[in-house]
Structures are given as C-alpha cells and as structure tokens.
C-alpha cells in the first residue's frame, strides 16, 4: 500500500522547546478523513506545518506523496492548507486575493475563473467574497481560507482547527463539505481539540499529547481508551450514605469521597455507568438531587492517558 503521508521518527524543535517528539505514522492513499486530536499545545499545528511544507523536521523524515514537502512546489501543488487563526491580508478584497492565490498555484485564464467560481460556491461566499477582509465576519474569513485551499483542487487537504469560531450551522455545512471532498477522493486531515467534532467526521483518529503521538485508531478504539480514564461525578443527595451504598455495588467505581451534601464518585467507563445511574434514579433506588461531572474535559483525559502510556 502506498501512502499519501509517511512520517519516520519525524520530530521538531523550536530552540529548546520540543514541538513534536519522534513520530512515526502513515496516512494511506485515497479519499478519507483523518482526525488529529489533542488538547491545545499538543503539537497538532507543529505536525501540520511539517506536512504542509512550512517547516522542515529537526530529525527523522517527513514525506508527502513520496517526497520531502519543505519548499517543494511539486508537493505543494497537491496540498491545500487551511491554517488556524484569523489571519488575513489587510486592505484586500476576498475575491481579489483568491485570484492571486490561484495564480500562485499555477491557475490562469478560464481555468482560474472556473476554479474561483467553484471554490466560492463550495464555501458559500459567492456574494460576500467581494468584500474587504476587514468587512467580513470571522466565519466568512474562515470560509475564504477554506476556499483558497480548495482552489487548485488539491489531493490532500489539511485543516487546522477549522471549526473554531464557527456557528453551529456553519460547522454542519463545513462537515458536509469535507465529507463530499473525501468522497470525491481527497485525503483530508482535520485537527481539533474536541473529540465530538472529529468523531462526527471520521472513524480514523491520531491522538497527540505534549508533542507525542499517543494513539492511532478508530473512533471506537479511541473512545474505549478514553473510557479507561476515571471520570469524577459529584452526586448531590440528602443521604450521602445511600449514594455510597448504591455505588459500591458497581464494578466501575474506582474511588469514593463523602461530602456534606452528597458524594464524589470516580468511575471508569462512564458510558456503561451512567445508564445504571439513570435507571437507579428513575426506580427511586438512588435519592439523587443533582449530578455534576467534574473533570470530563479533554485535558484531564489526556493527562490520564499520558500516565497510562508512560
């Protein structure tokens, strides 16, 4: 099997700071979406900059379409990059800038006009694309960045946190657009720090944390991995003892802490534990007055996984 992307112990240092530890993985040829998941500072943007040819690796090897991507026009002509952040050229109009980006990709004449019309339509900016960037909303500018990445019909599309700052409707539209692009045969890499976002798009995830590739697998496999992280739930009840009595009967319980107005339970596999909790409340077996998940955020999960993989 050939690979669109292959990393062989590729690493990147920013001076003394390690941006990405030696990392090895492959993305196969052909259409499909891969999620790059990790909390802020995990090394997602670093990895994306290596793949999109902006930065060369400090060690190891990065190959995209079998070639080194750094300053390599043959590779760059096949990549579309949507970088993170609301950066845009001041004083230019969207469609004017898009035309220049098309020309810098080698498009010209009727091909360029057709590509611009197609890209603007794909991102829903046929009308608003004529505005100055400074007059556009953040969401519109994000669409323009996506439009420039689609302009030259790249085989490999890289998006860094594309859903940041988007309203729910725009998110759904973008997800649908990415699915269509994947079905059309494009390999797509989408980074996010929110598992739910990535899970809606793809069944293949790369899990990054503190510059290390922690895991690689399907959404189900990653979810299973995440389920091993004990989640803390604060259960409010008139009788903390009653909560404790009920909780100790379940295998998922890892730790129990009594409080004045209830108890804090640390449980593994919350996806099997929570239905049991719901059933107990509905049947009146558990006199619950409130339920408060304490550390369901991704950072806490990643902290746990790092220890687990040490």
């Amino acid at each position: 099997m050939t690979a669109t992307v292959s990393l062989e112990r590729a690493s990147l240092r920013y001076g003394d700071i390690l941006g990405l530890s030696p990392t090895t993985f492959e993305l196969p040829d052909g259409g499909g979406i891969t999620g790059l998941l990790g909390p802020n500072g995990a090394g997602k943007s670093t990895l994306i900059q290596l793949l999109s040819g902006l930065l060369p690796p400090s060690g190891g090897e990065v190959r995209v379409f079998g070639q080194v991507p750094f300053r390599n026009p043959a590779v760059l002509s096949r990549i579309g990059l949507v970088p993170e952040g609301d950066r845009f050229p001041v004083g230019l109009r969207g469609h004017h800038w898009l035309r220049m980006m098309g020309e810098l990709s080698g498009l010209s004449g009727s091909h360029l006009n057709a590509a611009m019309a197609s890209a603007l339509t794909a991102v829903g900016m046929e009308v608003n694309g004529k505005k100055l960037f400074s007059e556009m909303s953040k969401g519109m500018r994000q669409r323009m960045r996506l439009g420039q990445a689609l302009l030259h019909d790249p085989e490999f599309l890289i998006l860094d946190e594309p859903f940041n700052g988007m309203d729910p409707e725009s998110r759904l539209q973008l997800m649908e657009l990415l699915r269509q692009q994947a079905l059309a045969g494009r390999r797509i890499l989408v980074s996010s720090h929110i598992l739910g976002e990535v899970a809606q798009l793809t069944d293949r995830i790369l899990l990054l944390f503190r510059g290390r590739l922690l895991a690689e697998g399907s959404v189900a496999e990653i979810r299973e991995l995440l389920d091993r992280h004990p989640v803390e739930l604060r259960i409010g009840a008139e009788s903390a003892q009653a909560v404790a009595r009920w909780a100790v009967e379940h295998d998922e319980l890892v730790a129990l802490r009594m409080e004045e107005s209830g108890a804090v339970l640390a449980v593994r596999n919350p996806r099997s534990f929570l239905p049991k909790l719901q059933e107990a409340v509905l049947s009146g077996a558990l006199p619950l007055s409130s339920l408060d998940p304490i550390d369901l955020n991704l950072d806490a999960v990643f902290q746990f996984l790092t220890k687990d993989h040490a």
Binding site: I17, G53, P73, S77, R87, S105
Partner: protein
C-alpha cells in the same frame, strides 16, 4: 494537471494581487513624500519671484540634493519597504503564500517590485516638477536616473535587512539617515559605501555646496555616472537575490519562530 507557476507569472500575480495596497494610505504617503517637497518649493519659488528675489537652478539643486535625495528618498524607502514581504510576515499571512507551489525565492522581489514601480512613478513626476523650479532641462534625466537607481538599491537593501534582522527597519534607518549623510566627512573610497555618493555622481557634484565652515569635509571623489547607475543596479539585484535566498532557506511557520501547539 496544473503547470507550476514560473518566476515571471509569480511576479505578475503578486504585483496585480497586491496592487490595491498601493492605493491605500501607505501608498499615498509614499507619493506625497516625493511630490510634496517639490510642490512646496514651487510655492516658495513663486513667492520669492513675486518679491523680485531669485530662485534659480542653484536653489533647485539644493532642493534636489538636500531634500529629495537626502531626506525624502530615505523616508520613502523606510515607508515602502515594510509593505513588501515584511508585511506578510507581520500579518502572519506569509504561510498562506508559502504553502503555494510558486517559487519562494522570487517572493521578496515580486512584492518589492510593486512598491518600486509605485515609488518610481512619483519620483519621475517629482523630478519632472523640478523643471518648474528652474532646473536645467538637460539635468532632469540625470536627476531622475539618480533617484530611480538609488530607490532601487535602497529598497532592495531594506528588504534584505528586514529578512535578516528582526529590527531590520531600524538598522536600515540608521544606515540611510545617519551613515549616508556622513559622506561629507568620509575619506576617499569610503564614500563609495554610501548611496549619496552615487546619487551625486549621477545627478551632479556636491562640490559647490561644501562651505568653509565644514571643517571636517573631505575631498569629494566621483564615479562616472554610467558606472554609478550600474553599481546601484547590481547592488539592488544582489540584495533582491540575497533576500530570495534568505526566504528560501528560512523555515517560517504559522507563528513565526514561536512554538505553537
């Protein structure tokens, strides 16, 4: 299959793509910097002539050397150069351009050429206006050539400095506004390390402007005007090439040199 953009097409795309930028505030400041001194001198000359006072070719020469060449041109360069490739670095939009298959080494020149063309247009207009100040018509082509060649060399020099140093504009300002005017007291061949030497070699001698009060003034050396133009042109080409080489070699990420997750 899309053909990869050639250097010429890249330059064309950059010049046309960024053209609206020269029609904004920075572009008009550049235009005013060279045109306004001539306009004000014209007003002053008119007032003096109405009062039967003289404003002739000698005064026009002072306007050219003291105001246009030594003050307006360096400031024009300091205003225009940061609008080149440095602007994309500061706005963090350069990675969007660098992720395109266009040749990287031509980007500094492509962006700089737009501003060179814009500045050159107003330099020609300003020098044309010098005719109204009493400058001899035969001198105008040399004045224009001197400023155009110096603008070419200084703009490329500033672009190179801005790619090599984080505070490239500051170093450039020190060179153009402190070092260059010291040409008056520089001995012999050291004068050749200033832009003013070449401007004066092309547009006319400063000899008559050295007074007895200038105790440290050194004897002026000269370079034939055609050699002076060639030196400035080649220096500019060298700086553009060095800027392209520097950009080609320098990894520029989404956040500059900062680490970013």
């Amino acid at each position: 299959m899309i053909a990869l953009p050639t250097p010429a097409r890249t330059i064309s795309a950059l010049v046309r793509g960024y053209f609206p930028r020269v029609l904004q505030i920075r572009g008009w400041v550049c235009a005013l910097l060279v045109v306004l001194p001539v306009l004000l001198s014209f007003v002053l000359a008119s007032i003096l002539r109405m009062q039967q006072l003289s404003f002739g070719s000698q005064e026009a020469l002072i306007v050219f050397h003291k105001v246009l060449a030594q003050l307006a041109l360096p400031i024009l360069v300091l205003v225009a150069a940061p609008a080149g490739i440095r602007e994309d670095m500061e706005q963090r939009t350069l990675p969007l351009v660098l992720s395109r298959p266009a040749p990287t080494w031509i980007l500094p020149f492509g962006k700089g050429l737009l501003w060179y063309g814009w500045g050159a247009l107003w330099i020609v207009i300003a020098v044309g206006g010098m005719a109204g100040l009493g400058t001899e018509m035969a001198s105008l082509p040399f004045m224009a050539a001197a400023l155009l060649a110096a603008f070419w060399a200084e703009l490329s020099f500033m672009t190179f400095l801005s790619l090599v140093f984080k505070r490239g504009t500051l170093w450039g300002a020190l060179y153009l506004l402190i070092w260059d005017p010291l040409v008056r007291i520089m001995p012999g061949n050291l004068q050749r390390l200033t832009f003013i030497h070449y401007i004066e070699s092309i547009a006319g001698s400063r000899g008559s402007s050295v007074g007895t009060s200038q105790l440290l003034a050194q004897e002026q050396i000269t370079t034939p005007w055609y050699l002076a133009i060639l030196v400035l042109f080649l220096f500019g080409v060298l700086c553009w090439a060095a800027s392209g080489w520097k950009l080609q070699q320098t990894p520029i990420g989404l956040a500059g040199a900062e680490a970013e997750g």
